[in-house]
């Protein structure tokens, strides 16, 4: 038995992982989530902002991180729509541009069609700028130098919503959904710290440990990975009962596979250590 386990083909572990993740997805039985302080702080800030406040949404991620970050991006945009905040979308990632369009189409134009949100009045899509962190540095004092036009090519002076916006300092809140560079760190370094602008961050799991030291002084709160997204959905559902519906809980749904996959990994770690110690014991006896 020990020999069999020692020489177990890794592909059996992959198969076990496939079953551990696919089973809960097919079963569709989510676990309850409770927002932690880091997430609740962001929720409360968005909730308590005056209706119609300027919120910049910098979605700095690509389709490769969409599975992890889309639930939190959706929940945050949904919350901004509910509060009728004025939304300014932008991305520093070239392949993040279609995701901006998708969020605007699916959430603002479809889900909130009844609000009749108008481009240029209720929201603006600045689009993509290839200058990375330089975009943030310059936008801190002059937004038009980096984005003279919106994504459709319309001059910012001709858009009612941006006519009186001159820099990042006109934003009540910056929400950055980040998958790496440029992203969370750059927004802290070039926007939140030098200009004292409130910054809320949603990050991938890989990046989250780098973000924690910035909380709470340089960062309002943190939505760390899919768990952060799930917690924000829970906070939204608690405040707005119409969102206490499985179809609005993409993040919460993905926490059940997390649970079983983590259980499997913990079991495998215990098993691996057990094999190691059993082998040592066997060698000692010889």
């Amino acid at each position: 038995m020990l020999n069999l386990l020692k020489n177990l083909d890794r592909r059996w572990i992959f198969l076990a992982m496939l079953l551990a993740v696919s089973g809960p997805i097919l079963a569709q039985r989510p676990f309850p989530e409770k927002p932690t302080k880091l997430v609740q702080d962001v929720f409360d800030y968005v909730e308590n902002l005056d209706e119609g406040s300027n919120v910049l949404l910098a979605l700095d991620y690509a389709p490769s991180s969409d599975g992890e970050l889309a639930p939190m991006a959706t929940a945050l945009i949904r919350h901004c729509c509910l509060k009728r905040h004025k939304m300014f979308f932008m991305t520093l990632w070239p392949d993040g541009l279609p995701l901006l369009g998708r969020n605007i189409e699916n959430i603002l134009q479809t889900e909130f069609a009844s609000l009749n949100l108008k481009e240029g009045v209720d929201y603006v899509n600045f689009g993509y700028n290839p200058a990375r962190e330089v975009v943030i540095i310059v936008m801190g004092t002059n937004l038009r130098k980096m984005y003279p036009r919106d994504v459709n090519g319309t001059d910012l002076d001709e858009i009612p919503l941006t006519a009186n916006i001159s820099s990042l300092q006109d934003m009540k809140l910056i929400i950055n959904i980040s998958a790496g560079y440029p992203g969370m760190k750059e927004w802290v370094q070039y926007a939140a710290s030098p200009h004292n602008i409130k910054l809320a961050v949603g990050s991938t799991a890989v990046q989250a440990p780098q973000a924690y030291p910035y909380y709470p002084n340089q960062m309002l709160g943190l939505l760390a990975a899919i768990k952060g997204g799930a917690e924000y959905e829970a906070a939204l559902a608690a405040k707005y009962p119409q969102y206490d519906d499985p179809k609005f809980k993409e993040g919460i749904r993905r926490m059940a596979p997390q649970f079983w996959a983590h259980l499997l990994i913990i079991g495998l770690i215990v098993l691996g250590n057990g094999i190691y110690f059993a082998e040592r014991l066997q060698r000692g006896r010889r």
């Binding site: 592909r11 992959f14 992982m17 496939l18 993740v21 696919s22 997805i25 097919l26 569709q28 490769s64 991180s65 969409d66 599975g67 992890e68 889309a70 070239p94 392949d95 541009l97 189409e105 699916n106 134009q109 479809t110 689009g127 993509y128 290839p130 200058a131 962190e133 540095i137 036009r149 459709n152 090519g153 001059d155 370094q189 070039y190 939140a192 710290s193 030098p194 991938t204 799991a205 890989v206 989250a208 440990p209 030291p213 910035y214 002084n217 340089q218 760390a224 990975a225 899919i226 768990k227 499985p246 179809k247 993409e250 749904r253 993905r254 596979p257 997390q258 996959a261 983590h262 990994i265």
Partner: protein
Amino acid sequence: MKRETLIWTVLFVAGGLFLVYRGLTADHGFGKSYVKQVRINPESQTDLRIKYVNSRPGVAGAEVSLPRTVGLWLSAFFTLAIFSFLYRDNMFYKIAESVFVGVTAAYVMAQAFWEGIVDRLLAGLTPQLMRGWALPDLKATQEPNYVYLIPLVLGIMLLWRLAPRGGWIARWPLAFIVGTFAGVKLISFLQADFVSQIRSTIVPLVVVTAAGSIDIWASLRNVGLIFGVFSCLTYFFFSVPHRGVVGRISRAGVWFLMITFGASFAFTVMGRIALFAARLEFLFDDWLWLIDPKGKRLW
């Protein structure tokens, strides 16, 4: 038949049979993408342009979109092709990998050209020409801004590296980039990561609440924070031998570091599982229609 060929054959036949079974038994089939037409500017009397948006099947005006359906099947194929690497390296994985790298590189290059070169550099230098060619919404009053000649010249100098002679010319713009970024990064790191982080560790060891009582948990947290920072710094302080008290503190620092690395690893695992779950959800929901958690197909 070789064992590996047998496994592949069984997998393909089983997968194919499942798709046929699914197609025959499911009420509405599977693997189709629906769209409907909407006006881009519904309030305008003159702007009659339309666009196609995703739609639920069964609603008025919804129709199957052939291009999006092909895209859906390609997505499913590439997802499975990438997963096939877990069995072993194979032709399908290599195709998927090459397509992914090629498409990404081309997309990023095209984006950089239009957003960087056309929309900024050329629009800044020759606004009239750009308005006639690519940017019709450019302001008619916009004057050429010759400051953009500097990045143009620096860019050309940077590309000089590809020329057979005079490669040294590329060093000047490179020096400019390195110098500029070193300056920018130095200031921002000093402010956001050095001074601000030191300030964040200046916290009271005994936290007293507004009511005058001691908040034990907050106090313990602050003590842990200070001790963690101090012990980690001691571990990296090599000017004194790590013996006695210093050795014990530095040993505690190692524990803090290990816990940090463990948390990082656990976060990484969580991230990868989330991505894996998202791909499986795509296969089960969008492609095979086995589940419908978002209510996308309420007939």
